[in-house]
């Protein structure tokens, strides 16, 4: 007993991450993904914006230079405007390169090894990236056609600068975007936290309702539940209902059993007292005979009560298996024979060729049939038969005798519960019927009563038939 607390945690439901934690993780993951995507596109956008802005500088400068290209004495002259370079100086810390190419492809002035674009357009501008002087440079080439006396062709002006200012601008844009994204993410996390709490509030309500409930209160919960956990609450309610049923079944069983057993045991005691003061051997033998009879009845009653309790228990607890009713009939017949008096009548078996399969609990079914058979043997008229039939989607196992059976008035209520105010002899009968009824209902079938054509009576369990497996 001292070790009991140590073992207790194992009984708890397995701990899994809470819903709030799952939601938090999911939201965080989504946010991380979204934020990464946002930053990535912000960086790309920054580079694009910086390139657009600074390409305009390059284009402007190259246009200004191209404008100052003139022809004098058959020579192309370029009078570099300082404004072009002042424009380029707007990218404060970038190195600047330029190159002017004449009509014959010769470098007129500037850096003669400055790279040209791979595809040279006829006229207009083309912007491109290249590596020059050990650094990445962005360049714009402006091509201008000239046509003068004795000279015609294209003059190209290439203006390039390093990309420091672009990267700085892109980084600036991206940083600002990152700050925005970060702030938004933080706000979203905060709001998500509130949302999660709000969404999970019904669970807390259910939890509180469960905890605050009186342990003896087994009535269904009547609380507002969102659709998502309706099934959970329904399951809890079903569970409590079953528990309630079980508890009341046990209670009434105990009451019934006490009542049922007390009367015959009192009678046995009275007989025994009588025997104690009796001298006559004849009378003693009679008394002894009565005690023996009563004892047998009590023993059978106890057996039935236990069987009933067992059946009730198994109804909720045992898994279903595929059972052949013919086998149930044979087993029930065997058991009946085992416990019967040597001179007693025995039930006959009336079985079909084919198996009759139902899904159920073998023990419960056997008990039910055994009880019906015992009832028939005890209260009906022989010959008694156990008959198995199948048809119309249902399987039937019936016990037939040739007595009058249960009066038609009582048939409707028969089996629901044995009555206390009946004669002791028929108590066993109604308890047997109760067991059979319980088994039939718990197997999704019913207990049926019927008169047989040639003055007989039939009690049968009608159960859903499972098509025989090939």
């Amino acid at each position: 007993m001292l070790d009991a607390p140590a073992a207790a945690p194992a009984l708890h439901a397995r701990r899994r991450p809470s819903i709030a934690l799952r939601l938090t993780l999911a939201v965080t993951l989504i946010l991380l993904l979204a934020a990464s995507a946002a930053l990535w596109s912000a960086w790309n956008y920054g580079i694009q914006a910086a390139n657009e802005a600074y390409d305009r500088l390059l284009t402007g400068a190259s246009l200004q230079i191209a404008e100052r290209v003139s022809v004098a004495d058959g020579e192309v002259l370029v009078d570099l405007p300082s404004s072009a370079f002042e424009l380029l100086s707007l990218a404060r810390n970038d190195r600047v390169f330029y190159r002017v190419i004449g009509t014959d492809g010769e470098t007129l002035t500037g850096y003669p090894d400055l790279p040209l674009p791979s595809d040279v357009g006829a006229a207009g501008q083309s912007a491109y990236e290249a590596t020059y002087s050990g650094e990445t440079v962005r360049a714009v080439m402006t091509t201008r056609p000239i046509a003068e006396r004795g000279m015609s062709g294209n003059v190209s002006v290439v203006v390039a600068h390093t990309v420091q200012a672009r990267i700085a601008l892109a980084r600036d844009i991206a940083t600002k975007a990152a700050i925005l994204v970060g702030a938004a993410a933080l706000a979203i996390v905060l709001l998500a936290w509130f949302a999660v709490r709000y969404a999970l509030a019904p669970l807390t309500r259910v939890e509180r309702a469960l905890l605050s409930r009186d342990p003896n209160d087994l009535s269904p919960f009547d609380i507002e539940t969102p659709r998502e956990i309706e099934t959970v609450v329904d399951a809890i309610n079903r569970f409590t209902r079953r528990l309630d049923r079980r508890v009341s079944a046990v209670q009434s069983f105990v009451a019934d059993a006490a009542h049922q057993l007390r009367t015959p045991i009192t009678a046995i005691r009275a007989q025994a007292q009588l025997a104690a003061g009796e001298e006559s051997p004849d009378r003693l033998r009679r008394i002894n005979r009565r005690i023996l009879d009563r004892s047998v009845a009590v023993s059978r009653l106890a057996d039935q009560l236990l069987s009933h309790a067992m059946v009730t228990h198994r109804t909720d607890a045992e898994p279903r298996e595929l059972v052949d009713l013919r086998r149930i009939a044979i087993e029930a017949e065997q058991e009946t024979r085992r416990f019967a008096d040597a001179d007693a009548e025995l039930p006959l078996l009336d079985l079909p060729e084919e198996p009759v399969i139902v899904a159920g609990d073998r023990f419960s079914l056997r008990e039910a049939v055994k009880n019906l058979a015992n009832n028939a043997l005890e209260h009906g008229k022989p010959p008694v038969a156990i008959r198995v039939t199948a048809g119309g989607g249902s399987a039937r196992i019936a016990v037939v005798d040739h007595g009058a059976g249960i009066p038609p008035v009582e048939r409707a209520s028969a089996g629901t519960r044995f009555r206390r105010n009946r004669a002791a002899s028929s108590r066993g009968a109604s308890l047997g019927l109760a067991i059979a009824h319980e088994v039939a209902v718990s197997h999704g079938g019913e207990l049926q009563f019927g008169d047989v054509g040639d003055g007989g009576f039939e009690v049968s369990l009608s159960l859903p038939l499972v098509e025989a497996l090939p």
Binding site: E86, R95, V96
Partner: protein, 357 residues
């Protein structure tokens, strides 16, 4: 070793270093072991000496080899060093801002990240690689005996008016021969870009038979002793230094606009002693360095040199003057363009009325 002793290294001619010449000055370290800082410069040793002395006082373990070269030679050597063909100096300091910009633009400089240099105004910094260390106006000098103070040219328009006087200035005006003087060429191109008077001014000077010189000192000497009456676009730092000693030499800072040159320095990528080089640059703009630039060397500092400059001039404050510091940046490269240079020189010659050689 005696403090401040300067030893022209005649023996260096025999030494293995191909860079050593008669114009190399060695300032040995005051304590050993010594590190050597090599400075390639266009600045007269006489003018820069106080700066070097103060630097060595603060950094006694640094020996300085100061190589004084002309702008073109210094540029050629720096370019060769940049290409890896020659050993590099640790500091390259030149008044030819345009050439310095080109060297840095061509990727020859190392980045120097020193807080002391961040105080420099924007025009005196480029890419954290090129730093303007001085604040030197281009000025008009004249001989007090020849031009009275009341008719002294206070701006470019006044100078134009003076030049209209027939015969008075014939052969008595001096300025740079911009074909041989890099500094003169730089001033001329900037004058051309920034003022409307430039064309008329060189025409006026051409009419008056302007005399052309390679160097600032030649103009200053001649104006001081009266051989010339007026010198145009002279480097103010040298003029002020001379004016301290020669009472006839007067310095005028035109009030309509004044170009201000800043000697530009960078640390070459291949420099051996980058740390001391950066220290040296930073030192020139620290409190002690600025004091020497402003008060002793008369080179002035871009950070706070303006007020010292005008105090030295004895002129009214700089409020109503238009000071145009030449900004370090790619715009200076325009003048270096070969075709541009050819066109500009042709225009200059045509205006002065001198034929092609």
């Amino acid at each position: 070793m005696i403090r401040g002793l300067v030893v022209p290294v005649l023996l260096a001619l025999l030494a293995t270093s191909p860079a050593a010449r008669a114009d190399d000055y060695d300032f040995p370290a005051k304590i050993s072991p010594a590190r050597t800082l090599t400075i390639g410069s266009t600045t007269d040793i006489g003018i820069i000496r106080p700066v070097i002395a103060a630097y060595q006082k603060a950094n006694p373990a640094v020996a300085i080899r100061y190589r004084e070269l002309t702008t073109r030679v210094l540029f050629a050597e720096a370019q060769a060093a940049c290409a890896g063909d020659k050993p590099a100096d640790d500091v390259v300091l030149s008044s030819a801002m345009d050439l310095q910009v080109k060297l840095v633009n061509d990727g020859c400089a190392a980045t120097v990240d020193r807080p002391g240099l961040n105080a420099l105004p924007d025009y005196a910094r480029w890419r954290s690689q090129l730093f303007g260390l001085t604040y030197e106006p281009s000025v008009i000098v004249y001989n007090r005996r020849a031009i009275a103070s009341w008719e002294a040219p206070v701006d470019h328009f006044a100078l134009l008016d003076l030049l209209r006087q027939p015969e008075r200035f014939r052969g008595r005006i001096g300025t740079y021969d911009i074909e041989s003087s890099g500094l003169g060429y730089l001033f001329a191109t900037l004058d051309d870009q920034r003022s409307s008077t430039w064309g008329r001014l060189i025409e006026g000077m051409g009419r008056n038979d302007v005399q052309l010189y390679c160097c600032t000192s030649e103009i200053l000497d001649r104006v001081a002793d009266g051989r010339l009456t007026l010198g145009y676009n002279v480097l103010g730092s040298y003029a002020l230094a001379q004016a301290r000693e020669k009472p006839d030499l007067a310095v005028a800072v035109p009030s309509d606009y004044t170009l201000v040159l800043t000697r530009a320095a960078y640390v070459p990528r291949q420099a051996q002693n980058r740390t001391d080089a950066a220290d040296f640059l930073e030192f020139t703009q620290a409190t002690e360095g600025r004091r020497i630039l402003n008060d002793e060397a008369l080179l002035f500092s871009p950070i706070d040199g303006a007020e010292h400059l005008f105090r030295e001039l004895g002129a009214s404050g700089g409020q109503n003057r238009t000071i145009r510091p030449i900004a370090l940046g790619p715009a200076l490269m325009v003048g270096l363009d070969q075709m541009k240079r050819r066109l500009f020189l042709k225009q200059w010659r045509d205006s002065l009325g001198i034929g092609e050689d």
